[in-house]
Symmetry: C2
């Protein structure tokens, strides 16, 4: 194993976020499941957008938010995701590069527009996402650069990649290259509905050792093992994967291996504004802890800190220096 | 004079805001005048954007921000401004309509892209704007609908309209129609550098009665009369226009006519985050007070309240209900 050029390389659906505050009855009226991520087609996207109020736009995408968080902590990072070469795709590409993340995936010259997620943020801070995948549908194995993958200490993948038709192949290609190069592969389960769609495949990825590290929140874990009992699900997770990290919102997180369970409390916040990106930024902090060999306890605290930052403002990307925040809280950077 | 369909119709440069927090040295390095609005061409826009960090995007444009504020207070509103029919133009059109502002200006099918302003927000909350006018350059007299103008109690115009080559003619056409219909015409001086560019023309607009009401901040007023003495400038303003409203940041505002001066204090804020839109939202509140015949004192307080809301978050459009805010503060709505 040669030394890595990147600490973490993330692969995900490149999605531009269109965020709006709304009341709960908007979700009811439009048949949305609160807190979830629904895939929508172009016609539904147009209908939802037409009904939405004035919005704020910024780059998003689950794994992209994580990698931007990692770069913000000071990690060496790269991202693989597909936009179109359109106005929004250019905003997207600018933002991820401006965050000092290497981003070389070729933008689509034609086909669907850059993907967008129409995100409704209700007064309780919960976010409900409606995602039009657009150009992200065209991410495929050709977008995977073997040298870049082999040169990354951790390859981080999002479960949402199972939705577009070819991204799964890109995922598997990346995982094989990473393992051949003795690198680690991490997967976030993304969303409980995503787990429902791909449960058997996700379990197979874990049990076959295609992924080494799983990130899940409580509802994704319950969906994965189809049980309402947290401890049962957590024990099963410890058997199925080398390292499992389960976030539980204000209850903190649990880090499990076959041999141990580490519980880490959540970080304190003043006001919950918008949960968009909470899981993504938790993963950023936790992975940064791994990158720095800080131990699971510190990794969990770094994750909690980054999640706390992102839920106190609108949008899924950090608005402050996570590195400074970690230092102020006595955590390793 | 028939009863008006709209309380206020605004005409302005339709500009999409690309906002980023930055340190002061970025401004120095890129030769920007802090606090100002510089017009830039496409090449300079590309160079500035390439150097900028991750951004947040939202619809902007000075008069558009004002009219959205007015709609938010509960006024009946319309907007005239030019975007291109591109992705950003569609975001822009969505937002202003979602704010319940009538917006019927035909989007340009070709020519330059929708205009963008690259806005740097420094740690002290000051904003420095770099504006690429784009499609806004093509606003012209044909975009002025005489029936819509004649049906608006107040026509509100921004000084920035003197920059694009044809918008001035649209401005003058609108003013003539409005006065023929016994309506009021208001103008904001926009920016001290804008006043430097068009001082004689702005004074002529005032002295000829082409405009009835002037909004200016302190530095614009000083630029207009080329004096450092506030009282001298204010007295001159009272002679040159029927109604003059001068904002002075935390010192509040002065409302002047030939007969009286009304001083109104600023509204209290917790934290100054971003001054973008402060003047625009002050004008929204003040005009709303005029629309409701609330008197200059209340109009000034409504303006101060709206300005205070907008400077406590990133971006130039209100993020809360100004109507509720006014009610909570015992002001007329």
């Amino acid at each position: 194993m040669t030394s890595a050029k990147y600490d973490v390389l993330a692969i995900g659906n490149a999605i531009f976020d269109v965020l709006v505050r709304t009341e709960d009855d908007f979700l009811v009226k439009h048949g949305m499941v609160k807190g979830g991520m629904a895939l929508i087609d172009e016609a539904r996207a147009a209908a939802i957008y037409a009904a939405m109020g004035q919005a704020v736009e910024m780059s998003g995408g689950s794994a992209a938010n994580t990698i931007v968080g990692l770069a913000n902590f000071g990690a060496r990072t790269a991202y693989v995701g597909k936009v179109k070469d359109d106005q929004i795709g250019r905003l997207y590409s600018h933002d991820i590069r401006a965050a000092k993340v290497a981003f070389e995936t070729k933008a689509a010259a034609d086909g669907p527009a850059t993907g967008c997620s129409y995100i409704l943020v209700t007064p309780d801070g919960e976010r409900t996402m409606n995602t039009y995948l657009g150009a992200a549908q065209d991410l495929g194995p050709d977008d995977i650069d073997p040298i870049q993958i082999a040169g990354s200490a951790i390859v981080y993948l999002e479960g949402y990649l199972w939705d577009p038709k070819n991204a799964k192949d890109a995922f598997l290609k990346a995982s094989t290259i990473a393992h051949d190069a003795k690198r680690q592969v991490a997967l976030t389960l993304s969303d409980a509905f995503c787990v429902d769609r791909y449960r058997d495949e996700f379990l197979e990825l874990m049990r076959s050792g295609t992924v080494d590290l799983i990130f899940a929140n409580e509802s994704e874990l319950h969906a994965l093992y189809q049980t309402a009992d947290f401890d049962t699900a957590l024990k099963q997770l410890a058997l199925d994967v080398k390292l499992g990290v389960v976030t539980r919102s204000e209850k903190g997180c649990a880090v499990v291996t076959k041999d141990e369970v580490t519980l880490v409390p959540a970080a304190k916040i003043d006001t919950l504004v918008d949960t968009t990106g909470a899981g993504d930024l938790f993963a950023a902090g936790f992975l940064f802890g791994l990158v720095r060999n800080a131990g699971y306890e510190n990794a969990g605290r770094l994750g909690a800190l980054a999640a706390a930052e992102v839920i106190q403002h609108i949008g899924a990307r950090p608005q402050t220096s996570l590195q400074d925040l970690a230092q102020q809280n006595g955590l390793p950077v």
